[in-house]
Subunit: 118 residues, 2 copies
DNA sequence: TTGACGTATGTCCATATGGGTATATAATGT
DNA sequence: ACATTATATACCCATATGGACATACGTCAA
C-alpha cells in the first residue's frame, strides 16, 4: 500500500504550517479568501486548496456573501488534538509535581494500611 | 518545489496515527522495540522507522541495554502543539462563557464612561 | 566461531502531497 | 452582452511518504 491520506483528520490538517497560519488568521474573525491571501502572501489557488482541506475536516465553515466566500473558524475539530496532547502535559509541566507528591504519599499510606489493618 | 518534509517537527510526527500509538505505549514506561511491535501488531522495520522519526523530532529518547534498545517518551516536544491548540480551546469549551460575559460587560461599561465622562 | 536474537537500514513501489500555472465558475457592475 | 472581480478547480511536476521485503549490524550464549 501507500502513504496515508493527510486530508483524513485534524491532526493531519494542522500538520501543515500554512494551514495553521490560515487558522490563526481566521481566529481574528470571519474573512474572505482574498483577505487570507493578502495577509499570508500566498498564491490564491493554494489558499483555496488549503481551505478545502480545512473544510473537509471541519475546521472551518463557509458562507456565501455576494461574490465572496466568508470563511470562519470552527475550533471544535481541534478538541481531539487537545484531548490527546493534554494527557502528556505532565511530562513537561511542573504543575503536576505537587500532585505527584500527594499521590505518592497516598499510595504509601494505603500500602501501610493494607499491610497492618485487618 | 514539492511536498514539505514530515520529519520536520512534532506536528508532522504526530499526524501519523501509528506514531501516536507508539507514544501512547511509551507513556507506560521505557520499552524495547519488540515490545512495541508486539503490542501494536506492526512490522518491526516499520516500528523502527517510526521510532526514528520520533527520535528526530525529540519525542523519544533511546538507551542501549544489551542487544535491545530501550525507548522512552520525552513529552516536552509536544509542548508547542499544546501551546498552539490551547488558544483555541475557547472555541469549543464552555469554560470561557462566563469570562466572555464579564469581559463584554466591562466593555459596555467602558464605552458608557467614554461617552459621558468629561 | 557459530548461531540466535534484537534492531536498523536499504531498496522498491504506489500514492498523495504542496506548489505552480491556466482556466472554469459565479456574482456584480456597466 | 460584456468586463471585472472573487474563488474554485484541473492539470502538471517533484518529492516524500508508509509499507513490504531482504539484509546488515551489534550483542550475547554455547
Amino acid at each position: 500500500m501507500a502513504r496515508a491520506a493527510t486530508t483524513a483528520d485534524a491532526f493531519n490538517a494542522v500538520a501543515e504550517p500554512r494551514r495553521r497560519q490560515i487558522l490563526d488568521v481566521l481566529a481574528g474573525g470571519e474573512r474572505p479568501v482574498n483577505d487570507i491571501v493578502a495577509r499570508l502572501h500566498l498564491a490564491q489557488p493554494l489558499v483555496s486548496k488549503h481551505l478545502r482541506v480545512l473544510r473537509e475536516v471541519g475546521l472551518v465553515g463557509v458562507r456565501d456573501h455576494g461574490r465572496q466566500r466568508l470563511y470562519r473558524l470552527d475550533g471544535r475539530a481541534l478538541k481531539p488534538i487537545h484531548d490527546w496532547v493534554k494527557d502528556y502535559e505532565r511530562s513537561w509541566s511542573q504543575r503536576f509535581d505537587r500532585l505527584d507528591v500527594v499521590l505518592e504519599e497516598l499510595k504509601q499510606t494505603k500500602e501501610e494500611n493494607d499491610g497492618s489493618g485487618k
